[in-house]
Structures are given as structure tokens and as C-alpha cells.
Symmetry: C2
Subunit: 157 residues, 2 copies
């Protein structure tokens, strides 16, 4: 099978689940490239990590660690919503996808999205959804997504 | 305080949490006005109900029961996503809002949305989001929401 990665790049950038030690590998700094994310204390990180782990397969955060630098260079999450509609169906919600600006253009975002969508599919979701800016729409279309609705937001702060 | 409801209507249409007996009050039939929702067996309903109840305040389904007919005439849900961004912030996701076509125009949708948004706010979410069709955008703007992003979807079925 021909991929878009050389085998070196495949080895260098593998997707895996978030681990508790990833905080020391730049995970929070990576999220800061996405949005407001002040420094999180080790204790806060561990608490949230444990909380999310308790959901098992219903909440997954994946990362790509650059095998050369040991830094986390990409991440994304998916959580599973359980519904009554669609015969008690399940929907995967993809959130907080970011690729380090230093390694953009290497299709790491596509790897992350593929990993998260495969996870949602494998545990029986009938669809996976996400919200993105108009600028990122073309990227997600390349990942097999189609635009559907309008995201509406109400801030409390 | 002057509301848009007469006190009779306030009493007739009160918002409360979904209860296990609501299946026999037309809850599933109401969801069928929203989207595909084949008949759900009592066992399936109970299982999903228990599963969702186990999330406590992190997953809430509310309903309005018409005090006159004893039927469920409106519903909506919100679940709480826990993040690392925004200082380990939380976001409320509103889903599956529907008002019985027989009682539309009585602001029941607005009551449902208010109830769900208040819940998200009360447990510390920094924002609440939802996805809607272009046609429903004006309704959600009246509820205090603003359009932000594009919802993208990938179906597995």
C-alpha cells in the first residue's frame, strides 16, 4: 500500500492515546496554539486526566509525539454522546484538534481525525461531528466530512 | 414580574427532568418529530435511561409535560464536556430539542433552552453550544445565542 508518508515519517509520528506523562512533553503548550489555555498545575492535570479516563472508551484524547524531539505535536479528542433517537444511537463529537505550527503540512491533522473517527465508528456511532471555522472547512472536507448545520454559541463569561 | 405566559400556562407547562415513566407519556413519539427514532423497547429505554442517569449532572434531559393532557410536549438535552483548555474548562452541548407541533408558538422551546443553558451555567461551563439548521438560527438568536462556526459531519451508515 502506498501512503503519503515515507516509512521514516510513519515511525516518527505515531498516533496514540494521551498519557499522564504527556504534560511534561508540551501537551498544554500545544493546546495554547489553539485557544486560551493558561498553565495547568500538575494536580489539576492529573485530576482532569483521571476524570476523563473514568469515561473509558466514551472519551478519548489522542496525541502524536514526535519521535525525534519527544514533544507532543498534535492532538484531538472525541467523546461519545448517547441518545434516544436513532434507536438509542451514539454520536462522536470531535473537539480540540491542533497541530504544532512547526510540523504543519505533514498531514498530521488528517491522521488525528482519522484516528478519532475510526474510534467513534468502532464503538458503534452512526456519525461523527465537529465544529470548525470557515477557513478550516476545506481541510475537513478532505477528511471526508460535509458541512451541515450552523454552530450557535452562548458565552457565560 | 410580567411574563409572556399567563399563570395558567406557567402551571400547565413546567420544565422538569426526564423521568423513567415518560416513555409512556409520548416521549419517544415526540422525538420522532425531530428525526429518525424507531420504536424503542421498554428494556432499551430503561437501559439508556440508567446509563445517562449515571452521569449525574453531566447529562441532563429535560421535558415539558402538558398538565392537561399528561403528554410530553417538549424536550431537550445538555451534556457537559470536560476539557483541558480554558483552565480545565467545561462546555455544555445542547442536543435534541423538539417541541410538539401541536403546541408550537407558545415559547416552550425558549423555556427548554433556558433551562438547559441555566443548568450548564450553574455547574460552571464557560459556554454552551448547539448546532441548528439555517432556518432555526433566528430562534436561537432570540434565546441569546450567536452563530459561530460550521458544523461538519461524517456518517458511518
Amino acid at each position: 500500500m502506498q501512503g503519503k508518508f515515507s516509512s521514516n515519517e510513519e515511525e516518527r509520528f505515531q498516533v496514540r492515546k494521551l498519557e499522564i506523562l504527556d504534560k511534561s512533553k508540551g501537551f498544554i503548550e500545544l493546546l495554547q496554539q489553539l485557544t486560551v489555555c493558561d498553565s495547568v498545575s500538575d494536580k489539576e492535570f492529573q485530576q482532569r486526566f483521571q476524570e476523563l479516563s473514568s469515561y473509558g472508551d466514551d472519551h478519548l484524547i489522542c496525541v502524536i509525539e514526535d519521535d525525534r524531539s519527544g514533544k507532543i505535536v498534535a492532538t484531538g479528542s472525541v467523546f461519545i454522546e448517547k441518545k434516544f433517537i436513532r434507536n438509542c444511537g451514539k454520536v462522536g463529537h470531535i473537539e480540540d484538534v491542533v497541530v504544532d505550527s512547526c510540523v504543519r503540512g505533514m498531514q498530521l491533522g488528517k491522521k488525528i481525525i482519522g484516528f478519532l473517527a475510526d474510534h467513534a465508528h468502532s464503538i458503534g456511532c452512526y456519525k461523527v461531528i465537529l465544529d470548525c471555522s470557515v477557513e478550516n472547512r476545506a481541510f475537513y472536507e478532505k477528511c471526508g466530512f460535509k458541512p451541515k448545520e450552523v454552530q450557535m454559541v452562548k458565552y457565560f463569561t
